[in-house]
């Protein structure tokens, strides 16, 4: 990998992060959506009900997935709107590397705050420490997959009418394995069962997504820009 490619990759990452920071008011919106979604459940179930405590990790996971689909269109939509997506495609540096940086920027600005908030909410709701740790570790290990697959879906749906809904339709089925392993880890932790298997599986999925999705995303961008 040449120096110029690394410089370009760094530039893409910094630009996305700078842009996110300067629009930080808008970044709050998915966090608010996440909080509202989680709070809908005690309102729907009943406050003194033990069901909520048992279901809380699953509720948090589902809310994370839904909130991610709200932040993902912006990965490419903003670039498409001002015409800078062409520059990305025309850069001689490997497009797979550049879109990987876009996914990384999304993870840092979109996913990581969500994870922190998820931890805070669970602590507020009084989730036991062991379960909370398993939930957060699972979210941490599985969130790269969410950002990477979401970036791919964002590239596939960039500029389309109704793109956000279509993006959710495409990503949520592909998120199901991460959801299953993550919630399984949290539930097993609550029962005192060791959760190494789920953690390894989630890490494995992240590594797989890391190696395969950048190329798929680059191909998707070139297919859509043509």
């Amino acid at each position: 990998m040449s120096n110029a490619a690394i410089t370009a990759a760094g530039a893409v990452l910094m630009r996305d992060l700078q842009r996110a920071w300067r629009r930080r008011g808008e970044l709050m919106q998915p966090l608010v959506f996440f909080t509202i979604t989680v709070y809908l459940f005690p309102l729907a179930i009943g406050p003194a009900d033990d069901t909520l405590r048992i279901l809380l990790p699953s509720i948090v996971w589902v809310a994370v997935l839904l909130s991610m689909t709200l932040t993902l269109p912006d990965v490419f939509a903003v670039d498409h709107a001002d015409g800078s997506l062409d520059h990305l495609a025309l850069s001689p540096h490997p497009l797979a590397l550049l879109v990987l940086m876009k996914a990384a920027a999304h993870w840092l600005s979109g996913a990581a705050p969500l994870l922190v908030l998820a931890g805070l909410l669970c602590a507020v709701f009084g989730l036991e420490t062991y379960t909370l740790r398993a939930l957060l570790l699972g979210l941490l290990l599985g969130s790269p997959v969410l950002s990477l697959i979401g970036t791919l879906a964002s590239a596939l749906t960039v500029g389309l009418r109704g793109g956000t809904l279509l993006l959710a339709l495409l990503t949520l089925p592909m998120y199901i394995p991460v959801l299953i392993f993550g919630t399984s880890a949290a539930r097993n932790a609550a029962l005192g069962i060791p959760v190494e298997a789920e953690m390894f599986l989630l890490s494995g999925l992240s590594v797989l997504a890391l190696t395969l999705t950048p190329w798929a995303t680059a191909a998707a961008l070139r297919a859509r820009l043509g």
Binding site: L160, L166, L170, P173, M174, S184, A216, A223, R224
Partner: protein, 268 residues
């Protein structure tokens, strides 16, 4: 201005040996030849599949003995199992054809991939419906949280996603290319989804619809199943050819040979 010079568009061809087989294959990659070939072949395929269906249904519904556990209600497998297999098979064909269109830029690849999608979705719906019908007499509910059925439902979502993407993108070729990327990613995802759903269902000790005594499935039960599977496969091929012909006409509507086709029928 843009005057039509007929078939100016050439697919990028891979390095070909000039053997007879490759020449034959290369011919099918050309839309007008495929169109004509599909027109002659599909009636035969429909006929063969009708024969296989009648043989399979007679064998399965009448001749095979009733299952000692489930009585006659197990007979739904003669539709459920082949349609589930075909739903997976169709996805593989869709992804492979899409890959051919994406990587080697062969137009027929794009056309076949787009043609496959509604067929695969239909098979998936059929598998889900028959699975539901099977579950009702066995467990008393219309939906069973069986690992295979759940994975089948997720496959239906993948098909819906593909179809939604195709209809959202206006340019047909760009839509086919984007769909190919989605289908290839889907193919990688499918084993992962199956494994995770198995994991999930064993946690809950869920019902298993497809519990056959593996070593001891009787021949008289197996034969009709194979016949039905082959029948479904030939039906799939026949319907695919018909749909592919429609897609070809839509893709190639600007070319001379398509104009000729439509004007000749008008003259009559």
């Amino acid at each position: 201005m843009a005057h039509d010079t007929g078939h100016t568009c050439k697919a990028v061809t891979p390095d070909l040996h000039t053997s007879f087989m490759f020449e034959r294959f290369h011919k099918f990659a050309s839309p007008p030849h495929f169109h004509a070939f599909a027109r002659t072949l599909s009636p035969w395929l429909f006929g063969i599949s009708a024969l296989l269906f009648s043989g399979g249904l007679v064998g399965g519904l009448v001749l095979a003995p009733a299952d000692y556990q489930q009585g006659d209600s197990f007979r739904i497998i003669y539709i459920h199992v082949p349609s589930a297999w075909l739903s997976m098979f169709t996805y593989m064909v869709m992804a492979s054809a899409g890959a051919v269109g994406l990587i080697w830029k062969v137009k027929m690849g794009d056309i076949v991939a787009r043609a496959c999608a509604p067929i695969g979705a239909s098979f998936t719906l059929l598998a889900l419906a028959t699975g539901s019908l099977w579950g009702k007499p066995m467990w008393g509910t219309w939906w069973v949280w069986d690992a295979r059925l759940t994975a089948e439902l997720i496959l239906l979502f993948l098909y819906f996603g593909y179809l939604a993407l195709q209809s959202a993108i206006e340019d047909r070729r760009a839509a086919a290319r984007a769909g190919a990327v989605l289908a290839i990613v889907g193919v990688v995802n499918i084993p992962i989804i199956h494994y995770s759903v198995e994991w999930w269902s064993t946690l809950h000790q869920g019902a298993t619809l497809t519990k056959f005594g593996k070593p001891s499935i009787e021949l008289s039960m197996l034969m009709p199943l194979l016949a039905m599977t082959l029948g479904f496969k030939t039906l799939f091929a026949a319907v695919l050819l018909v749909r592919a012909r429609c897609e070809i006409l839509e893709f190639e509507q600007h070319t001379a040979w398509v104009r000729e086709l439509t004007t000749v029928t008008e003259a009559r």
